[in-house]
Amino acid sequence: MKRVTDIICVFRIQLASMRREVGPFLLAALVFPSGMYLFATAVSGRQDTQEQNPLRFLAGSIVFSLSLTSISWLGYLLLENRFTGRLKLFATLPLAPSSYVFGVLVFALVQAAVGTTALLLVGRAIGVPMRPSFPLLIVVIVLTIFCLSGLGVVIASCARSFSQGSLLTDTLGAGLIFLAPVYYAPEMMPQSLRMFSQLLPTTFAARAVQTTLSGGQAIGGELLTLSLMAVATLGLGFRLMQWREN
């Protein structure tokens, strides 16, 4: 029970801290991914694949939003907590490091829910044809957030300075989108990059989101891969996130 209370308190602290930043957050959560959607639509040229491209672009934008939320912003938050001494404050409490990480993860999930909902509404408004399977979409989003947040935790725990850490989170937050077949089909990638992209969680997240948006359910492989990646990244994150210094 204490663990649950701890997680909720960490979540509430982060949520309260963001009160004044709700506007910029919503703007950022919408502007970047929506902008990428429009950009991808414009550069894709022909509209012949009517259904597939808009759906891919919307799925890509959702994954982009998740990546920004969980690596760039969550990473930034964790770095800020670490390098402004707030983490020290948590370290003085009878609080398990994992409760702290889970509290921050819940916060990321809420952010992801807001960002994804906004993008789905935008998609609906501009007429993207979709038949989303919401329960599956939620599972995909949770797993993606866990997986990518693990990377944010790892960076925030290992960074030697705030600037080094934020550079890494920004680079990875965007890099994982553009190095994976998120906005375009895998066939369009160079062979070597295509193989490399099979190691990236965003590849599987994009495929799973696109499938669920089109009403498909055959994403067992993607879910399994994302689950394994989430266990690996979060496991590493928990291991590195220690209150006690050596």
Binding site: R12, N81, R86, L93, R244
Partner: protein, 321 residues
């Protein structure tokens, strides 16, 4: 306020029940044995410190900057892993059970960041919840602590809008939440104005009256003299002395301090010399024809400078090695 150890782990509940109703026989609150902290670069911040802190007493830790005071306290609060040695808090091994031990402590770190967007009340209420207090208890405790630290007018202000001194008081308040039986305060009054500092002394005294044991590091001699039962002086990672003020003063061979101005250099600095007796100091006054002087019993400051200065000389001349 709520009972102190309502949140203690089952295994630690037998060790410490609460501040008010201490049923434990354990007379030692903190026991440190041969504590060594060596960093990767080979430097040693603590070199074999051993001491016992008795239940209910206030220990002041003094030492120059870089002496190893904060390193010492951070090993007790489990924030830093010792290279070797042992630390037990109310009989619980702090190295093996950091989380259990932290349930027994209220900690004010020397430097820690607050959440600027939270109000003072939110800060204290949310952090009280981490100490296993119910919502209602957390609200009551936060209310009490706010009043105790004279932050009533700031209750609903965002922490980011407060002065450095007010933020420092919040950090002290966070340590007070839940009435932990051990308070570890690392330079809690640094940056506070004299009035606030005295206010904090009052808060610490009241906590002690309720049964708390306190370890406090400070650079203020007056603070150590007024608050503590025993004083530890640390320099270069070593515990130089540990005892009551009287015991420390008794270590001085020359316990009378003569402060005077050289009659031939009236605009010069005040000179200080120490003497073994009052009569000896008077003789010096007559001999030197001093007209502007004062004689006083040596203070903690004299002990501090005698000890740390001596160590400095030993280190400089290589005798320390």
């Amino acid at each position: 306020m709520t009972n102190a150890l309502a949140y203690a782990e089952p295994e630690t509940q037998s060790a410490v029940r609460s501040r008010q109703s201490v049923t434990v026989e354990e007379p030692v609150a903190v026991s440190v044995r041969n504590l060594i902290k060596r960093y990767d670069d080979g430097s040693e911040a603590n070199r074999g410190i051993s001491l016992d802190v008795r239940r209910g007493e206030v220990i002041a830790i003094l030492g120059p900057n870089g002496a190893g005071k904060t390193t010492f306290l951070r090993q007790i609060t489990t924030e830093l892993r010792p290279t070797s040695g042992s630390v037990t808090v109310f009989g619980v091994d702090a190295i093996a059970n950091p989380e259990s031990v932290k349930r027994l402590m209220g900690i004010t770190p020397q430097e820690a960041g607050l959440f600027d967007a939270l109000t003072v009340r939110e800060h204290l209420e949310l952090f009280a919840r981490f100490k296993n207090l119910s919502k209602l208890e957390a609200r009551e405790v936060a209310h009490d602590v706010i009043a105790e630290l004279d932050l009533v007018n700031e209750t609903n202000k965002r922490v980011g809008a407060l002065s450095g001194g007010q933020r420092r008081r919040i950090l002290i308040g966070l340590a007070l939440l839940g009435e932990a039986p051990l308070l570890v305060l690392d330079e809690p009054t640094t940056g506070l104005d004299p009035s606030s500092r005295r206010g904090v002394w009052g808060v610490i005294r009241r906590a002690v009256d309720k049964g708390a044991t306190v370890m406090i590091s400070t650079h203020y001699m007056e603070e150590a003299e007024r608050l503590s039962d025993r004083i530890a002086i640390i320099a270069a990672g070593r515990l130089l002395e540990f005892g009551t003020l009287e015991e420390l003063l008794a270590r001085l061979d020359r316990s009378y301090r003569l402060s005077y101005r050289d009659p031939f250099v009236p605009a010069g600095d005040v000179q200080v010399r120490h003497f073994a007796s009052f009569a000896e100091a008077q003789r010096h006054i007559s001999l030197e024809l001093l007209s502007e002087y004062s004689i006083a019993r040596a203070s903690l400051e004299d002990v501090y400078f005698a000890l740390t200065g001596e160590l400095f000389v030993r280190t400089e001349t290589g005798a320390e090695a």
